[in-house]
């Protein structure tokens, strides 16, 4: 399917100069690509961007259609007529306002918690000398390697045992720190020259003060990356809510949406409504993605380095 590097694409007979060996001498374009292969590459890219983006077009367009229109013309990007009925029913007929509120609350607290606590631990692991530091770092790496699904039932067990099940605490506390964040921050702090801290130390600043007013301000890029991946991860989090809470008052948006779709609320097909709810679940992360794209990309690659 994806054979972008198809060597045949580079040798059309019609071109005045074939793909002669010694391609470095060919033309002034770096890489020396022929027109046809440029075109072929372009065509592949356009095809795949349609494939990757059209589902979002379908999602948005159909959330704005009437029920019969969505059933009859699901492919069409243009609602005819435009109808906000789906959204109306999302807000009036479901607990959407509650879900949005819960999601926002949980996401903000978890993001702030992760950024602060992961930085603290990352700094200690990167800079402070104390017994057991190395073992702790190995433990952090080991924790990152534990597959999340294995923890569903165990997390429920511990929440149940401590009497925390079905509470905001259950939604928030277990995910308030994450090993990947600690790892990212540790890597970053190690890249900052020690001399800065030493100057502050000579001035008599305490450890926390150095961390808070000297090192942390320098860590802005890493902090933004961590904020963004925490926000995105928590906003989208689903399975944890399944094992942490059961009462509808505590549902976050993904949980409410899942409930809406799996039929326990008897919504039938009603696709404009469901797609409208899905749009609302997608928008916050989409906005942040557009603004902070390069931090998302950094985040994806930081995650990669841990392997």
């Amino acid at each position: 399917m994806a054979r972008p590097t198809d060597p045949n694409a580079a040798s059309p007979a019609s071109l005045p100069r074939g793909p002669a060996p010694g391609a470095g001498s060919r033309g002034s374009t770096p890489g020396g690509r022929s027109l046809t292969s440029t075109f072929a590459g372009y065509a592949v890219l356009v095809f795949f961007s349609l494939l990757f983006l059209y589902p979002f077009v379908i999602q948005i367009a159909n959330s704005l259609k009437t029920e019969p229109d969505a059933t009859a013309n699901p492919l069409s990007p243009l609602p005819d007529p435009i109808s906000f009925g789906g959204y109306e029913r999302v807000f009036l007929g479901t607990d959407m306002p509650l879900w949005l509120g819960n999601s926002l609350l949980v996401t903000v607290i978890v993001t702030v918690g992760r950024v602060f606590l992961d930085s603290l631990a990352g700094y200690a692991l990167a800079r402070l000398r104390f017994r057991g530091r190395r073992a702790l770092f190995s433990a952090v790496i080991a924790v990152m390697a534990v597959p999340g699904v294995v923890l569903f039932i165990p997390k429920f067990l511990v929440l149940n045992q401590f009497g925390l099940y079905d509470s905001y605490t259950a939604l928030i506390l277990p995910v308030l720190v994450d090993a990947t964040g600690v790892f990212i921050m540790k890597q970053f702090f190690e890249s900052i020259p020690v001399s800065v801290e030493e100057a502050a130390r000579i001035d008599g600043a305490g450890v926390f003060r150095i961390f808070w007013s000297v090192v942390l301000p320098m860590a802005r890029p890493a902090l933004i990356t961590l904020t963004i991946i925490s926000f995105q991860g928590t906003w989208n989090e689903f399975p944890h809510t399944l094992v942490a809470v059961q009462s509808p008052d505590l549902f976050t948006l993904p949980r409410g949406l899942a409930d809406l779709v799996t039929g326990s609320l008897g919504m039938g097909t009603r696709y404009p409504l469901k797609l409208g709810a899905a749009v609302l679940a997608t928008i916050p992360v989409a906005i942040i993605f557009v603004i902070f794209q390069r931090y998302f990309i950094r985040g994806a690659n930081e995650g990669a380095e841990k392997g």
Partner: protein
Amino acid sequence: MPDTTTRAVRRRFRPTAATREAVAGWLFVAPVVTILGLFLLVPILMALWVSLTDWNGQGSPFLAGVPYVGLRNYTRLFTEDNLARQDFMTSIRNNFYYVVIVVPVQTVLALGLALIVNGTRLRGRTFFRTAFFFPSVTSSVAMSVVFLFIFANSGAANHLLALLGVDGPQWFADPRGVLHLLLGRIGLVDPEAPPAALTGGGPFGLSWWEWLSGPSVAMATIIMLVIWTTSGTFMLMFLAALQDIPVALEEASMIDGAGRWQRLRHVTLPVLRPTLFLVLTLGLIATWQVFDQVYVMSQGNPAKTTLTPAYLSYQTAFRDFEYGTGTAISFVLFLIIVILALVQRRVMHGRADRPRLRRPAWTRRS
């Protein structure tokens, strides 16, 4: 630490700088250590115990009345002929076919897209990168809802197929195995009346015919969704690695007269090998954990053909209240993932021992 603290206590009002640093160190890591310990380490230990019992969710699993069954929750998944084993083996089969398709396809797609995006000097390079990556950051639940609509009976996919003159299937209601359908298409066997040799028996309570089903049509939709969502992340990893290739290396190979294909084989791919290994490993680990999409789109249906071990363990514990069996399934899944990751590491390391940048034939000419 004991040494320094006692010394510090002795000089009570003047703790040494080293002591202060050590204390600060532990204070700094304390919240992370506490939370990870309480919600990761302790739960795993608790779950190990629960997997040895028949706890039904009532009260605490650590009270005296909870029946202890030893390793039975594990053995019944493998050796006893019962529904639990049947379901477990079915989920393993389903997830196996899922992994076998998703991992190679997403890896090749990610690599391919990264190569063209990287190679293109066209305008819009950032746009394409964004377009491919965006699905990766969205909510799995929301995207499952979108794909439910796309693959609905009169949904976008079937409308598109109708434009091409194809009568689309009822995706989510179709338990037929894709491999069965293919075998039927080439006339090897009749899916309606499979040969008795295959239906007669087979390992672990499923017949050979059932093992050979391939992913069901319903599972195919989840496969497409996941490939669509995750390829972008892996593309970024390849892209980052591609940008690390020194331009001099590429130019040298061009001057040496390497064609595009040769350059890919002998310059680019060897440099990408660590990334390739990483992408395959991450893919393998993630695909064995597929859960959200199954929960939202199919709940294991139709005919249990989208059941996966992760979903089965959830269902067994929280719907059937058999926490012991559910937990045992989790741990078996854990073991599968660990073993596969280790095997893959060994295989890839065996290969990586060879010199990474062999001088290919075309450079030896001169």
